[in-house]
Protein backbone atom coordinates (compact mmCIF):
# COMPACT_ATOMS: atom_id res chain seq x y z
CA UNK A 1 0.00 0.00 0.00
CA UNK A 2 1.14 3.52 -0.75
CA UNK A 3 1.85 4.58 2.80
CA UNK A 4 3.57 7.76 1.68
CA UNK A 5 0.28 9.42 0.76
CA UNK A 6 -1.17 11.49 3.60
CA UNK A 7 -4.92 11.70 4.15
CA UNK A 8 -6.33 15.21 4.03
CA UNK A 9 -6.92 16.42 7.58
CA UNK A 10 -10.59 17.11 6.98
CA UNK A 11 -11.41 13.68 5.53
CA UNK A 12 -13.03 11.00 7.64
CA UNK A 13 -12.30 8.46 4.94
CA UNK A 14 -9.69 8.78 2.25
CA UNK A 15 -9.42 6.09 -0.39
CA UNK A 16 -7.11 6.13 -3.35
CA UNK A 17 -6.81 3.53 -6.11
CA UNK A 18 -8.20 0.82 -3.82
CA UNK A 19 -8.18 -2.72 -5.17
CA UNK A 20 -9.45 -6.03 -3.87
CA UNK A 21 -9.39 -9.21 -5.91
CA UNK A 22 -10.73 -12.68 -5.17
CA UNK A 23 -8.80 -14.91 -7.54
CA UNK A 24 -9.53 -13.56 -11.00
CA UNK A 25 -12.49 -11.50 -9.81
CA UNK A 26 -11.92 -7.79 -9.22
CA UNK A 27 -14.41 -6.98 -6.47
CA UNK A 28 -13.02 -3.47 -6.01
CA UNK A 29 -11.11 -2.00 -8.91
CA UNK A 30 -9.27 1.28 -8.46
CA UNK A 31 -11.72 3.07 -6.17
CA UNK A 32 -10.87 6.66 -5.22
CA UNK A 33 -12.99 8.94 -3.03
CA UNK A 34 -12.97 10.84 0.22
CA UNK A 35 -15.70 11.45 2.79
CA UNK A 36 -15.94 14.60 4.87
CA UNK A 37 -17.14 14.95 8.48
CA UNK A 38 -20.91 15.15 8.84
CA UNK A 39 -21.50 13.99 5.28
CA UNK A 40 -23.99 11.34 4.18
CA UNK A 41 -22.15 9.56 1.40
CA UNK A 42 -23.94 7.05 -0.80
CA UNK A 43 -22.33 4.03 -2.39
CA UNK A 44 -24.77 3.20 -5.17
CA UNK A 45 -24.72 0.25 -7.49
CA UNK A 46 -26.36 -3.04 -8.38
CA UNK A 47 -25.75 -6.27 -6.46
CA UNK A 48 -22.13 -7.29 -6.93
CA UNK A 49 -20.98 -3.73 -7.58
CA UNK A 50 -18.47 -3.97 -4.71
CA UNK A 51 -20.29 -1.88 -2.09
CA UNK A 52 -20.20 -4.46 0.72
CA UNK A 53 -16.60 -5.40 -0.08
CA UNK A 54 -15.69 -1.71 0.18
CA UNK A 55 -17.31 -1.50 3.63
CA UNK A 56 -15.37 -4.60 4.69
CA UNK A 57 -12.11 -3.11 3.43
CA UNK A 58 -12.78 0.18 5.23
CA UNK A 59 -13.38 -1.70 8.50
CA UNK A 60 -10.31 -3.90 8.26
CA UNK A 61 -12.33 -7.11 7.89
CA UNK A 62 -10.62 -7.73 4.56
CA UNK A 63 -7.13 -6.59 3.61
CA UNK A 64 -6.89 -4.69 0.31
CA UNK A 65 -4.98 -6.13 -2.62
CA UNK A 66 -3.62 -2.66 -3.33
CA UNK A 67 -4.17 1.06 -2.95
CA UNK A 68 -4.35 3.53 -0.10
CA UNK A 69 -6.98 3.64 2.67
CA UNK A 70 -7.26 5.84 5.72
CA UNK A 71 -10.29 5.75 8.00
CA UNK A 72 -10.29 8.40 10.74
CA UNK A 73 -6.57 8.73 10.09
CA UNK A 74 -5.89 5.02 10.57
CA UNK A 75 -4.97 2.19 8.24
CA UNK A 76 -7.73 -0.43 8.62
CA UNK A 77 -5.49 -3.27 7.43
CA UNK A 78 -3.01 -2.57 10.23
CA UNK A 79 -5.25 -1.00 12.88
CA UNK A 80 -8.51 -2.87 12.28
CA UNK A 81 -9.46 -3.09 15.96
CA UNK A 82 -8.89 0.64 16.52
CA UNK A 83 -10.88 1.52 13.41
CA UNK A 84 -13.79 -0.70 14.45
CA UNK A 85 -13.85 0.95 17.88
CA UNK A 86 -14.84 4.14 16.07
CA UNK A 87 -17.18 2.75 13.44
CA UNK A 88 -20.65 1.30 13.67
CA UNK A 89 -21.88 -1.04 10.97
CA UNK A 90 -25.43 -1.99 10.08
CA UNK A 91 -24.99 -5.12 7.98
CA UNK A 92 -27.33 -5.99 5.13
CA UNK A 93 -29.06 -8.62 7.28
CA UNK A 94 -29.75 -7.58 10.89
CA UNK A 95 -27.48 -10.48 12.12
CA UNK A 96 -28.94 -10.41 15.61
CA UNK A 97 -28.98 -13.24 18.12
CA UNK A 98 -32.59 -14.28 17.67
CA UNK A 99 -32.67 -16.53 20.73
CA UNK A 100 -31.59 -13.68 22.98
CA UNK A 101 -33.51 -10.58 24.01
CA UNK A 102 -32.86 -7.08 22.65
CA UNK A 103 -31.29 -6.11 25.96
CA UNK A 104 -28.99 -9.16 25.93
CA UNK A 105 -28.00 -8.44 22.32
CA UNK A 106 -27.10 -4.83 23.07
CA UNK A 107 -25.30 -5.68 26.31
CA UNK A 108 -23.24 -8.31 24.50
CA UNK A 109 -22.22 -6.00 21.67
CA UNK A 110 -21.63 -3.14 24.08
CA UNK A 111 -19.19 -5.31 26.01
CA UNK A 112 -17.38 -6.31 22.83
CA UNK A 113 -17.27 -2.65 21.78
CA UNK A 114 -15.50 -1.97 25.08
CA UNK A 115 -18.11 0.35 26.61
CA UNK A 116 -17.12 0.61 30.31
CA UNK A 117 -19.13 -1.72 32.53
CA UNK A 118 -20.27 1.17 34.74
CA UNK A 119 -22.01 2.97 31.86
CA UNK A 120 -23.07 0.03 29.69
CA UNK A 121 -26.41 -0.68 31.37
CA UNK A 122 -27.50 2.95 31.16
CA UNK A 123 -26.41 3.26 27.56
CA UNK A 124 -28.32 0.08 26.60
CA UNK A 125 -31.52 1.39 28.21
CA UNK A 126 -31.03 4.77 26.52
CA UNK A 127 -30.77 3.12 23.08
CA UNK A 128 -33.75 0.83 23.74
CA UNK A 129 -35.78 3.90 24.64
CA UNK A 130 -34.57 5.97 21.70
CA UNK A 131 -35.46 3.23 19.23
CA UNK A 132 -38.83 2.52 20.85
CA UNK A 133 -37.95 -0.99 21.98
CA UNK A 134 -38.10 -0.58 25.76
CA UNK A 135 -41.48 -2.30 26.02
CA UNK A 136 -40.18 -5.48 24.35
CA UNK A 137 -36.57 -5.30 25.54
CA UNK A 138 -36.79 -8.59 27.45
CA UNK A 139 -38.45 -10.56 24.64
CA UNK A 140 -36.54 -12.88 22.35
CA UNK A 141 -35.61 -11.12 19.11
CA UNK A 142 -37.14 -13.93 17.03
CA UNK A 143 -40.56 -12.61 18.09
CA UNK A 144 -39.85 -9.13 16.62
CA UNK A 145 -41.12 -7.74 13.32
CA UNK A 146 -38.57 -6.98 10.58
CA UNK A 147 -38.81 -3.27 11.30
CA UNK A 148 -38.11 -3.81 15.01
CA UNK A 149 -35.14 -6.01 14.19
CA UNK A 150 -33.74 -3.35 11.88
CA UNK A 151 -34.20 -0.68 14.58
CA UNK A 152 -32.42 -2.93 17.05
CA UNK A 153 -29.57 -3.51 14.57
CA UNK A 154 -29.30 0.26 14.12
CA UNK A 155 -29.26 0.68 17.91
CA UNK A 156 -26.43 -1.85 18.06
CA UNK A 157 -24.45 0.05 15.42
CA UNK A 158 -24.83 3.32 17.37
CA UNK A 159 -24.44 1.89 20.87
CA UNK A 160 -20.78 2.86 21.29
CA UNK A 161 -21.37 6.33 19.77
CA UNK A 162 -19.15 5.85 16.73
CA UNK A 163 -18.16 8.97 14.81
CA UNK A 164 -18.57 7.01 11.55
CA UNK A 165 -21.57 4.89 10.65
CA UNK A 166 -21.87 2.40 7.79
CA UNK A 167 -25.38 1.42 6.72
CA UNK A 168 -25.51 -1.45 4.23
CA UNK A 169 -28.95 -1.58 2.57
CA UNK A 170 -30.71 -0.30 5.71
CA UNK A 171 -34.24 -0.64 4.32
CA UNK A 172 -33.75 -3.83 2.34
CA UNK A 173 -36.70 -6.20 2.84
CA UNK A 174 -38.69 -3.77 4.98
CA UNK A 175 -42.30 -2.80 4.32
CA UNK A 176 -42.84 0.88 3.37
CA UNK A 177 -43.81 1.89 6.90
CA UNK A 178 -40.76 0.28 8.51
CA UNK A 179 -38.52 1.67 5.74
CA UNK A 180 -39.91 5.15 6.41
CA UNK A 181 -39.13 4.78 10.12
CA UNK A 182 -35.55 3.75 9.38
CA UNK A 183 -35.09 6.58 6.87
CA UNK A 184 -36.43 9.07 9.40
CA UNK A 185 -33.83 7.83 11.89
CA UNK A 186 -31.07 8.24 9.31
CA UNK A 187 -32.25 11.79 8.56
CA UNK A 188 -32.28 12.54 12.29
CA UNK A 189 -28.72 11.27 12.65
CA UNK A 190 -27.65 13.24 9.60
CA UNK A 191 -29.09 16.45 11.04
CA UNK A 192 -27.13 15.77 14.22
CA UNK A 193 -23.94 15.78 12.14
CA UNK A 194 -23.29 12.02 12.07
CA UNK A 195 -20.99 10.94 9.22
CA UNK A 196 -22.75 8.15 7.36
CA UNK A 197 -21.75 5.84 4.52
CA UNK A 198 -24.95 4.53 2.98
CA UNK A 199 -24.78 1.53 0.65
CA UNK A 200 -27.98 1.18 -1.29
CA UNK A 201 -29.60 0.47 -4.59
CA UNK A 202 -32.69 2.37 -3.50
CA UNK A 203 -32.20 5.56 -5.53
CA UNK A 204 -35.13 7.49 -4.08
CA UNK A 205 -33.71 6.88 -0.63
CA UNK A 206 -30.22 7.92 -1.73
CA UNK A 207 -31.50 11.09 -3.41
CA UNK A 208 -33.28 12.11 -0.23
CA UNK A 209 -30.50 11.25 2.20
CA UNK A 210 -27.13 11.62 0.48
CA UNK A 211 -24.99 14.73 0.14
CA UNK A 212 -22.72 12.99 -2.35
CA UNK A 213 -22.74 9.62 -4.06
CA UNK A 214 -20.33 7.26 -5.76
CA UNK A 215 -22.01 5.24 -8.51
CA UNK A 216 -20.33 1.84 -8.69
CA UNK A 217 -20.41 -1.12 -11.00
CA UNK A 218 -18.14 -4.16 -11.20
CA UNK A 219 -15.95 -2.72 -8.46
CA UNK A 220 -15.34 0.55 -10.26
CA UNK A 221 -16.50 4.06 -9.46
CA UNK A 222 -18.33 5.35 -12.53
CA UNK A 223 -19.27 8.75 -11.14
CA UNK A 224 -18.63 10.71 -7.96
CA UNK A 225 -20.15 13.89 -6.59
CA UNK A 226 -23.48 15.32 -5.57
CA UNK A 227 -26.33 14.23 -7.87
CA UNK A 228 -26.73 17.73 -9.40
CA UNK A 229 -23.01 17.90 -10.27
CA UNK A 230 -23.07 14.46 -11.82
CA UNK A 231 -26.20 15.43 -13.75
CA UNK A 232 -24.49 18.57 -15.10
CA UNK A 233 -21.51 16.48 -16.19
CA UNK A 234 -23.81 14.04 -17.96
CA UNK A 235 -26.03 16.68 -19.51
CA UNK A 236 -24.01 19.89 -19.93
CA UNK A 237 -26.04 23.08 -19.99
CA UNK A 238 -29.49 23.69 -18.58
CA UNK A 239 -32.69 22.70 -20.30
CA UNK A 240 -35.51 25.16 -19.88
CA UNK A 241 -39.14 24.41 -20.74
CA UNK A 242 -41.13 27.56 -21.58
CA UNK A 243 -44.92 27.05 -21.77
CA UNK A 244 -46.80 29.79 -23.72
CA UNK A 245 -50.32 31.01 -23.09
CA UNK A 246 -50.49 31.92 -26.77
CA UNK A 247 -48.24 30.37 -29.44
CA UNK A 248 -45.04 32.46 -29.88
CA UNK A 249 -44.70 34.65 -32.96
CA UNK A 250 -41.94 33.96 -35.54
CA UNK A 251 -40.11 37.05 -34.29
CA UNK A 252 -40.18 35.78 -30.70
CA UNK A 253 -38.90 32.38 -31.85
CA UNK A 254 -36.15 34.04 -33.84
CA UNK A 255 -35.19 36.00 -30.71
CA UNK A 256 -34.99 32.75 -28.73
CA UNK A 257 -32.85 31.04 -31.39
CA UNK A 258 -30.45 33.96 -31.59
CA UNK A 259 -30.07 34.48 -27.84
CA UNK A 260 -26.28 34.19 -27.22
CA UNK A 261 -26.44 31.52 -24.45
CA UNK A 262 -28.84 29.23 -26.32
CA UNK A 263 -27.24 26.04 -27.60
CA UNK A 264 -30.28 24.10 -28.82
CA UNK A 265 -33.99 24.78 -29.44
CA UNK A 266 -36.88 22.29 -29.66
CA UNK A 267 -40.31 23.65 -30.54
CA UNK A 268 -43.61 22.01 -29.60
CA UNK A 269 -47.21 23.35 -30.13
CA UNK A 270 -47.18 25.61 -27.04
CA UNK A 271 -43.86 24.56 -25.56
CA UNK A 272 -40.42 25.87 -26.29
CA UNK A 273 -37.52 23.82 -24.91
CA UNK A 274 -34.13 25.47 -25.01
CA UNK A 275 -30.73 24.37 -23.80
CA UNK A 276 -28.84 27.23 -22.22
CA UNK A 277 -25.15 27.28 -21.42
CA UNK A 278 -25.85 27.87 -17.73
CA UNK A 279 -28.59 28.56 -15.21
CA UNK A 280 -27.37 32.15 -14.90
CA UNK A 281 -28.67 32.93 -18.39
CA UNK A 282 -32.28 32.06 -17.54
CA UNK A 283 -33.47 35.45 -16.11
CA UNK A 284 -32.10 37.45 -19.06
CA UNK A 285 -33.52 34.98 -21.58
CA UNK A 286 -37.00 35.11 -20.04
CA UNK A 287 -36.93 38.91 -19.68
CA UNK A 288 -36.09 39.39 -23.38
CA UNK A 289 -38.95 37.10 -24.43
CA UNK A 290 -41.39 39.01 -22.22
CA UNK A 291 -40.11 42.35 -23.52
CA UNK A 292 -40.71 41.03 -27.06
CA UNK A 293 -44.37 40.48 -26.12
CA UNK A 294 -44.35 36.72 -25.47
CA UNK A 295 -47.31 35.49 -23.41
CA UNK A 296 -45.63 33.05 -21.02
CA UNK A 297 -47.57 30.73 -18.73
CA UNK A 298 -44.64 29.00 -16.96
CA UNK A 299 -40.86 28.59 -17.06
CA UNK A 300 -39.39 25.34 -15.72
CA UNK A 301 -35.68 24.56 -15.52
CA UNK A 302 -35.46 20.83 -16.20
CA UNK A 303 -33.73 18.74 -13.51
CA UNK A 304 -32.74 15.08 -13.59
CA UNK A 305 -33.61 12.73 -10.79
CA UNK A 306 -30.88 10.59 -9.27
CA UNK A 307 -32.61 7.65 -10.89
CA UNK A 308 -32.17 9.20 -14.35
CA UNK A 309 -28.55 10.04 -13.52
CA UNK A 310 -27.89 6.53 -12.25
CA UNK A 311 -29.33 4.76 -15.25
CA UNK A 312 -27.60 7.11 -17.66
CA UNK A 313 -24.29 6.26 -16.00
CA UNK A 314 -24.95 2.54 -15.99
CA UNK A 315 -26.13 2.65 -19.63
CA UNK A 316 -23.07 4.68 -20.66
CA UNK A 317 -20.95 1.97 -19.10
CA UNK A 318 -22.77 -0.78 -20.96
CA UNK A 319 -22.51 1.15 -24.23
CA UNK A 320 -18.81 1.64 -23.57
CA UNK A 321 -18.33 -2.08 -23.04
CA UNK A 322 -20.35 -2.91 -26.14
Amino acid sequence: MGATVDAPQDSVIDVSNLHRTFGAIRAVDGLTFDIRPGEVFGLLGPNGAGKTTTVRLLNGILPPSGGFVRVLGMDPAQQGGQVRRKTGVLTENPTLYERLSARQNLTFYGTLSEIPEATLGGRVEEMLGFFGLEGRAGDRVETYSKGMKQRLALARALLHQPPLLFLDEPTSGLDPEAAQQVNALIEFLSHKGQTIVLCTHNLTEAERLCDRVAVMNAGRCLALGNPADISRRLWPGTWLDVVFWQAPSPAQLELARNFPAVEQVDLGPELLSVRLQSKEAIPTFVRQLVEAGASILSVNPRSHSLEEVYFAIQNNRQDGEA
Binding site: L62, G81, T95, L112, S113, E114
Partner: protein
Protein backbone atom coordinates in the same frame (compact mmCIF):
# COMPACT_ATOMS: atom_id res chain seq x y z
CA UNK B 1 -6.64 -10.63 24.81
CA UNK B 2 -9.61 -8.94 26.43
CA UNK B 3 -10.93 -11.13 29.27
CA UNK B 4 -14.15 -9.15 29.64
CA UNK B 5 -14.95 -9.83 26.00
CA UNK B 6 -13.97 -13.51 26.34
CA UNK B 7 -16.37 -13.87 29.25
CA UNK B 8 -19.14 -12.07 27.33
CA UNK B 9 -18.70 -14.37 24.31
CA UNK B 10 -18.74 -17.46 26.51
CA UNK B 11 -21.85 -16.35 28.41
CA UNK B 12 -23.63 -15.43 25.18
CA UNK B 13 -22.79 -18.78 23.56
CA UNK B 14 -24.06 -20.69 26.59
CA UNK B 15 -27.26 -18.63 26.67
CA UNK B 16 -27.80 -19.53 23.05
CA UNK B 17 -27.13 -23.23 23.68
CA UNK B 18 -29.62 -23.14 26.53
CA UNK B 19 -32.25 -22.11 23.98
CA UNK B 20 -31.31 -24.99 21.65
CA UNK B 21 -33.00 -28.17 22.86
CA UNK B 22 -31.04 -30.33 20.41
CA UNK B 23 -27.92 -29.16 22.22
CA UNK B 24 -28.80 -29.22 25.91
CA UNK B 25 -31.19 -32.18 26.24
CA UNK B 26 -28.42 -34.77 25.65
CA UNK B 27 -26.20 -32.78 28.02
CA UNK B 28 -28.71 -33.32 30.81
CA UNK B 29 -29.98 -36.82 30.00
CA UNK B 30 -26.66 -38.57 29.40
CA UNK B 31 -25.03 -37.44 32.69
CA UNK B 32 -28.14 -38.65 34.53
CA UNK B 33 -27.80 -42.05 32.88
CA UNK B 34 -24.07 -42.30 33.58
CA UNK B 35 -24.00 -40.76 37.04
CA UNK B 36 -27.23 -42.15 38.49
CA UNK B 37 -28.98 -44.88 36.51
CA UNK B 38 -25.98 -47.04 35.59
CA UNK B 39 -24.20 -47.06 38.98
CA UNK B 40 -27.52 -47.74 40.71
CA UNK B 41 -28.13 -50.69 38.41
CA UNK B 42 -24.64 -52.13 38.88
CA UNK B 43 -24.60 -51.72 42.68
CA UNK B 44 -28.16 -52.80 43.43
CA UNK B 45 -28.22 -55.76 41.04
CA UNK B 46 -25.90 -58.02 43.11
CA UNK B 47 -27.83 -57.08 46.25
CA UNK B 48 -31.17 -58.05 44.72
CA UNK B 49 -30.21 -61.17 42.75
CA UNK B 50 -28.61 -64.09 44.63
CA UNK B 51 -25.11 -64.87 43.37
CA UNK B 52 -26.04 -68.51 42.58
CA UNK B 53 -28.51 -67.35 39.92
CA UNK B 54 -25.84 -65.49 37.97
CA UNK B 55 -22.94 -67.79 38.66
CA UNK B 56 -22.14 -68.05 34.94
CA UNK B 57 -21.88 -64.29 34.44
CA UNK B 58 -19.83 -63.84 37.60
CA UNK B 59 -17.47 -66.51 36.39
CA UNK B 60 -16.92 -64.57 33.16
CA UNK B 61 -16.28 -61.44 35.20
CA UNK B 62 -13.62 -63.26 37.21
CA UNK B 63 -11.91 -64.19 33.93
CA UNK B 64 -11.87 -60.51 32.97
CA UNK B 65 -10.49 -59.54 36.37
CA UNK B 66 -7.75 -62.10 35.89
CA UNK B 67 -6.64 -60.15 32.77
CA UNK B 68 -6.07 -56.96 34.76
CA UNK B 69 -2.53 -56.06 35.85
CA UNK B 70 -1.39 -57.87 39.00
CA UNK B 71 -1.26 -54.66 41.03
CA UNK B 72 -4.85 -53.87 40.14
CA UNK B 73 -6.00 -57.34 41.06
CA UNK B 74 -5.03 -56.50 44.66
CA UNK B 75 -8.21 -54.42 44.82
CA UNK B 76 -10.26 -57.61 44.49
CA UNK B 77 -8.38 -59.59 47.16
CA UNK B 78 -10.57 -60.55 50.11
CA UNK B 79 -13.68 -59.31 48.32
CA UNK B 80 -16.82 -61.38 47.89
CA UNK B 81 -18.41 -62.04 44.50
CA UNK B 82 -20.95 -59.23 44.91
CA UNK B 83 -18.31 -56.73 46.02
CA UNK B 84 -16.04 -57.79 43.16
CA UNK B 85 -18.87 -57.29 40.68
CA UNK B 86 -19.58 -53.79 41.98
CA UNK B 87 -15.89 -52.82 41.93
CA UNK B 88 -15.35 -54.21 38.43
CA UNK B 89 -18.37 -52.55 36.89
CA UNK B 90 -18.42 -49.18 38.63
CA UNK B 91 -14.69 -48.56 39.07
CA UNK B 92 -13.32 -50.14 35.88
CA UNK B 93 -15.99 -50.78 33.25
CA UNK B 94 -17.69 -47.39 33.48
CA UNK B 95 -14.51 -45.33 33.86
CA UNK B 96 -13.79 -44.73 30.16
CA UNK B 97 -17.50 -44.38 29.44
CA UNK B 98 -17.44 -41.21 31.52
CA UNK B 99 -15.16 -39.59 28.96
CA UNK B 100 -18.11 -39.46 26.58
CA UNK B 101 -19.53 -36.60 28.69
CA UNK B 102 -16.83 -33.93 28.22
CA UNK B 103 -16.27 -34.99 24.64
CA UNK B 104 -19.92 -34.79 23.73
CA UNK B 105 -20.73 -31.58 25.59
CA UNK B 106 -17.73 -29.63 24.33
CA UNK B 107 -18.38 -30.72 20.75
CA UNK B 108 -22.11 -29.82 20.98
CA UNK B 109 -21.39 -26.33 22.30
CA UNK B 110 -18.46 -25.99 19.91
CA UNK B 111 -20.64 -26.94 16.93
CA UNK B 112 -23.34 -24.48 17.99
CA UNK B 113 -20.78 -21.79 18.65
CA UNK B 114 -18.61 -22.07 15.55
CA UNK B 115 -20.95 -23.48 12.89
CA UNK B 116 -24.26 -22.32 14.38
CA UNK B 117 -23.02 -18.73 14.44
CA UNK B 118 -22.37 -18.93 10.71
CA UNK B 119 -25.60 -20.83 10.02
CA UNK B 120 -27.67 -18.19 11.83
CA UNK B 121 -25.79 -15.44 9.94
CA UNK B 122 -24.65 -13.70 13.12
CA UNK B 123 -20.94 -14.05 12.46
CA UNK B 124 -20.64 -10.93 10.29
CA UNK B 125 -21.73 -8.52 13.03
CA UNK B 126 -19.31 -10.23 15.41
CA UNK B 127 -16.46 -9.62 12.97
CA UNK B 128 -17.29 -5.89 12.88
CA UNK B 129 -16.58 -5.56 16.61
CA UNK B 130 -13.16 -4.34 17.81
CA UNK B 131 -12.42 -7.81 19.28
CA UNK B 132 -9.23 -9.41 18.02
CA UNK B 133 -9.44 -12.78 16.26
CA UNK B 134 -7.73 -14.40 19.25
CA UNK B 135 -10.22 -12.96 21.72
CA UNK B 136 -13.13 -14.27 19.65
CA UNK B 137 -11.48 -17.68 19.40
CA UNK B 138 -10.67 -17.79 23.11
CA UNK B 139 -14.25 -16.83 23.99
CA UNK B 140 -15.58 -19.71 21.99
CA UNK B 141 -13.08 -22.14 23.53
CA UNK B 142 -14.07 -21.06 27.04
CA UNK B 143 -17.76 -21.39 26.11
CA UNK B 144 -17.39 -24.99 25.05
CA UNK B 145 -14.59 -26.35 27.25
CA UNK B 146 -15.20 -24.88 30.71
CA UNK B 147 -18.86 -25.98 31.01
CA UNK B 148 -17.95 -29.42 29.63
CA UNK B 149 -15.34 -29.85 32.37
CA UNK B 150 -17.67 -28.51 35.06
CA UNK B 151 -20.52 -30.74 33.88
CA UNK B 152 -18.17 -33.75 34.01
CA UNK B 153 -16.96 -32.89 37.50
CA UNK B 154 -20.50 -32.49 38.75
CA UNK B 155 -21.35 -35.86 37.20
CA UNK B 156 -18.29 -37.48 38.81
CA UNK B 157 -19.32 -36.06 42.18
CA UNK B 158 -22.85 -37.44 41.83
CA UNK B 159 -21.44 -40.75 40.63
CA UNK B 160 -19.12 -41.03 43.64
CA UNK B 161 -21.99 -40.30 46.02
CA UNK B 162 -24.37 -42.75 44.29
CA UNK B 163 -21.81 -45.57 44.10
CA UNK B 164 -20.78 -45.26 47.74
CA UNK B 165 -24.34 -44.83 49.01
CA UNK B 166 -25.83 -47.66 46.97
CA UNK B 167 -22.99 -50.07 47.79
CA UNK B 168 -22.87 -49.17 51.50
CA UNK B 169 -24.72 -52.38 52.53
CA UNK B 170 -21.99 -54.39 50.77
CA UNK B 171 -18.88 -52.46 51.87
CA UNK B 172 -19.95 -50.58 55.01
CA UNK B 173 -17.46 -47.79 54.16
CA UNK B 174 -16.55 -45.21 51.49
CA UNK B 175 -14.35 -47.14 49.10
CA UNK B 176 -14.68 -45.15 45.84
CA UNK B 177 -13.03 -43.47 43.91
CA UNK B 178 -9.95 -45.60 43.32
CA UNK B 179 -6.61 -43.89 42.68
CA UNK B 180 -6.85 -44.11 38.86
CA UNK B 181 -9.96 -41.91 38.88
CA UNK B 182 -8.05 -38.83 40.03
CA UNK B 183 -5.99 -38.41 36.83
CA UNK B 184 -9.10 -39.45 34.90
CA UNK B 185 -11.10 -36.59 36.40
CA UNK B 186 -8.49 -33.86 36.61
CA UNK B 187 -6.08 -34.60 33.77
CA UNK B 188 -7.75 -36.68 31.05
CA UNK B 189 -11.24 -35.12 31.28
CA UNK B 190 -10.09 -31.52 30.60
CA UNK B 191 -7.91 -32.80 27.76
CA UNK B 192 -10.81 -34.70 26.23
CA UNK B 193 -13.05 -31.60 26.55
CA UNK B 194 -10.52 -29.61 24.60
CA UNK B 195 -10.23 -32.41 22.03
CA UNK B 196 -13.98 -32.26 21.34
CA UNK B 197 -13.84 -28.49 20.88
CA UNK B 198 -10.67 -28.35 18.80
CA UNK B 199 -11.91 -31.13 16.51
CA UNK B 200 -15.11 -29.13 16.05
CA UNK B 201 -13.12 -26.05 15.03
CA UNK B 202 -11.42 -28.03 12.27
CA UNK B 203 -14.66 -29.66 11.17
CA UNK B 204 -16.50 -26.32 11.27
CA UNK B 205 -14.50 -24.97 8.35
CA UNK B 206 -15.75 -27.86 6.19
CA UNK B 207 -19.43 -28.10 7.09
CA UNK B 208 -22.35 -25.70 6.76
CA UNK B 209 -24.82 -26.65 9.47
CA UNK B 210 -24.84 -27.29 13.20
CA UNK B 211 -26.29 -30.78 12.68
CA UNK B 212 -23.53 -31.75 10.23
CA UNK B 213 -20.87 -30.61 12.69
CA UNK B 214 -22.67 -32.33 15.58
CA UNK B 215 -22.84 -35.63 13.71
CA UNK B 216 -19.23 -35.51 12.58
CA UNK B 217 -17.85 -34.67 16.01
CA UNK B 218 -20.13 -37.36 17.42
CA UNK B 219 -17.99 -39.88 15.60
CA UNK B 220 -15.20 -39.05 18.09
CA UNK B 221 -17.15 -41.14 20.59
CA UNK B 222 -15.71 -44.15 18.74
CA UNK B 223 -12.37 -43.27 20.35
CA UNK B 224 -13.93 -43.60 23.79
CA UNK B 225 -15.62 -46.84 22.86
CA UNK B 226 -12.23 -48.18 21.79
CA UNK B 227 -11.01 -47.44 25.32
CA UNK B 228 -13.98 -49.36 26.73
CA UNK B 229 -13.26 -52.34 24.48
CA UNK B 230 -9.57 -52.13 25.35
CA UNK B 231 -10.37 -52.16 29.03
CA UNK B 232 -12.84 -55.05 28.65
CA UNK B 233 -10.41 -57.14 26.65
CA UNK B 234 -7.51 -56.38 28.98
CA UNK B 235 -5.48 -54.77 26.17
CA UNK B 236 -5.61 -51.34 27.81
CA UNK B 237 -6.20 -50.64 31.44
CA UNK B 238 -6.82 -47.09 32.69
CA UNK B 239 -4.58 -47.11 35.74
CA UNK B 240 -2.90 -44.07 37.29
CA UNK B 241 0.10 -44.06 34.99
CA UNK B 242 -1.71 -45.08 31.78
CA UNK B 243 -4.45 -42.49 32.36
CA UNK B 244 -1.85 -39.80 32.94
CA UNK B 245 0.06 -40.88 29.81
CA UNK B 246 -3.10 -40.96 27.71
CA UNK B 247 -4.06 -37.52 29.02
CA UNK B 248 -0.63 -36.16 28.06
CA UNK B 249 -1.01 -37.58 24.56
CA UNK B 250 -4.45 -35.97 24.20
CA UNK B 251 -3.09 -32.62 25.44
CA UNK B 252 -0.39 -32.76 22.74
CA UNK B 253 -3.02 -33.52 20.08
CA UNK B 254 -5.12 -30.64 21.48
CA UNK B 255 -2.22 -28.24 21.20
CA UNK B 256 -1.64 -29.23 17.57
CA UNK B 257 -5.34 -28.91 16.68
CA UNK B 258 -5.63 -25.53 18.39
CA UNK B 259 -2.53 -24.29 16.60
CA UNK B 260 -4.19 -25.19 13.29
CA UNK B 261 -7.54 -23.82 14.53
CA UNK B 262 -6.09 -20.40 15.40
CA UNK B 263 -4.71 -20.27 11.87
CA UNK B 264 -8.12 -20.89 10.32
CA UNK B 265 -10.06 -18.65 12.72
CA UNK B 266 -9.21 -15.34 11.10
CA UNK B 267 -11.56 -12.61 9.96
CA UNK B 268 -10.27 -12.73 6.43
CA UNK B 269 -11.10 -16.46 6.20
CA UNK B 270 -14.35 -16.28 8.12
CA UNK B 271 -15.82 -13.39 6.13
CA UNK B 272 -15.27 -15.31 2.91
CA UNK B 273 -17.56 -18.09 4.17
CA UNK B 274 -20.47 -15.76 4.98
Amino acid sequence: MNWRSIRAIAVKDLREVRQNKAAWVPAVVIPLVFAVAMPLAFTLLPQLIPAEQVAGELGEMQELVARLPAAVQQVFVDKGLEQGFVIYTTAFLLAPMFLILPLMFSSIVGADSFVGERERKTMEALLYTPCSDRTLFAGKIVASVVPAILLSWVSYTIYIVVVNAASWPLFGRIWFPLAAWWPLMFWLTPAISLLGMSATVLISSRVKTFMEAYQLTGSLVVLVLLLVVGQLSGVLYLGVFSTFALGTLVWVVDAALIYVGVGTFQRTHLIAKI
